[in-house]
Amino acid sequence: MSYYDIDAILTDAEKVPCKFELDIPELGYLDNNPAQPLKSGTTVGLPLWLAELLALANRAPSSADEEAKSFVSLNLPPSLSNEVMSALKADPRAVPLRDQSHNFYGLGTRMLDLFEEKEICAILRRTFVTRAADIALHAGKAGATDDMGIGGGEEFLRGLEEWERKLFKKAHDGAKGSKEWMEGVKKHRR
């Protein structure tokens, strides 16, 4: 991951559910309630940049026989819920991923780092590759006709999350570059 990468930073702002494991007087504002202490057991949606390290930081055990615990325990975000996974399993193309999260796969890889979820991992990979084939088709067409808007191109782009948009752009630029070169050569024909 790159420190200055804008997409990585935006992915870091995606929220995940966190359950606090202790009372914290100063942090009521995280639950939109600055006047009150944040109670143990409260679940708050926190951005990854905060959630991940709060979950990973071991607070020191208060007595010798107590095990080290985290400040918060994490849960999977709604975009990786069972419902979404079932829908993707049924038909990867039918889900507008961008509505789930602008950084759907970015968030997914971060969560897979934290949770051992083999099935989610497999579903995400299959989804990515299946949809990539679709992206290649649309982008190739758009690149060769030099038109993004026609044939539902814009509509198609709207449903793509960030990784997919980048992939679309690469496929589009490749098709366009090769077409432009070809036309440039042919212009010289007598």
Binding site: Y105, G108, T109, L112, D113, E116, K118, C121, A122, L124, R125, R126, F128, V129, A132, A133, I135, A136, A139, W163, K166, L167, K170, A171, D173, G174, A175, G177, S178, E180, W181, M182, V185, K186, K187, H188, R189, R190
Partner: protein, 253 residues
């Protein structure tokens, strides 16, 4: 940011590279040797043929100072053979690239085209590859598409169509080739999901590569990132397996 180009050569750069391919010409005028940066050009004496880099051959052609001898693989019969190969032989693989050109070392041994270089005290061989192999000269084999096939063919059709026998048929055969090979390129993405470590696409051409590079590598990298946790888990298990094997050995001792 000093460079706003994507990683990997784009089509215009590939075309530039292809212009370094050697091609055979028949001079129509005498021309003395020219001291170029990359070495002296051969003196041109009509009708003796000579091999020159494509960009220079085109310059001579445009000035009607020379005609171009199309490479044997670009003749209709050869292209028909390749179309047949592409469609009937293997539905997935590209037709094979030309065999590496060899030449005699004067002592009875056939050797690949290479340059000997020296680093420190040892001689090191630099094996040549396109565009520095004679894969588009009159001596090139027919029935094989070289790495820069599409760029060479299109460029020659654009600037030297009158030197190519039956140019309309050549054009039509090239369209067929482009189509059947594009389908193969698309199909190769199916193998990318597999998550293996090596994928061989022998026979692919430079322009085909330039067009698909960003997308193909994007998919490979995406699959890797999505599978990173699974891969790490697999490696841990492997290591643990190795450790167990070792401890078994220890017990055996």
């Amino acid at each position: 940011m000093a460079l706003s180009l994507p990683s990997g050569l784009v089509p215009t750069e590939v075309a530039f590279l292809c212009e370094m391919e050697m091609i055979t010409i028949v001079p129509r005028q005498r021309l003395e040797s020219i001291p170029m940066l990359s070495g002296k050009t051969p003196a041109l004496r009509p009708p003796r043929r000579a091999d020159l880099p494509l960009w220079l051959a085109l310059l001579l052609k445009k000035q009607r100072r020379a005609n171009i001898v199309p490479p044997p693989w670009l003749l209709p019969a050869s292209l028909q053979e390749i179309v047949h190969l592409e469609t009937n032989y293997d539905p997935e693989a590209f037709s094979p690239p030309p065999p590496p050109p060899m030449r005699s070392d004067g002592r009875g041994v056939a050797r690949p085209y290479a340059t000997t270089t020296r680093s420190g005290n040892e001689d090191k061989e630099l094996i040549l590859a396109p565009p520095f192999l004679p894969s588009c000269t009159q001596d090139a084999p027919s029935g094989y598409l070289p790495y820069h096939w599409l760029e060479i063919a299109e460029t020659l059709l654009a600037h030297a169509a009158d030197d190519i026998p039956n140019a309309p048929e050549v054009r039509a055969l090239l369209r067929d080739l482009q189509e059947v090979r594009a389908a193969k390129m698309r199909a190769s993405t199916r193998h990318l999901e597999g998550g293996g470590g090596v994928l061989n696409i022998r026979g692919v051409g430079a322009m085909e590569l330039a067009e698909s590079r960003g997308f193909v590598l994007g998919v490979v990298d995406g699959v890797r990132k999505l599978g990173a946790s699974a891969e790490a888990g697999r490696r841990e298990e492997l290591e643990r397996g190795d450790d167990e094997d070792e401890s078994d050995d220890d017990m055996g001792l």
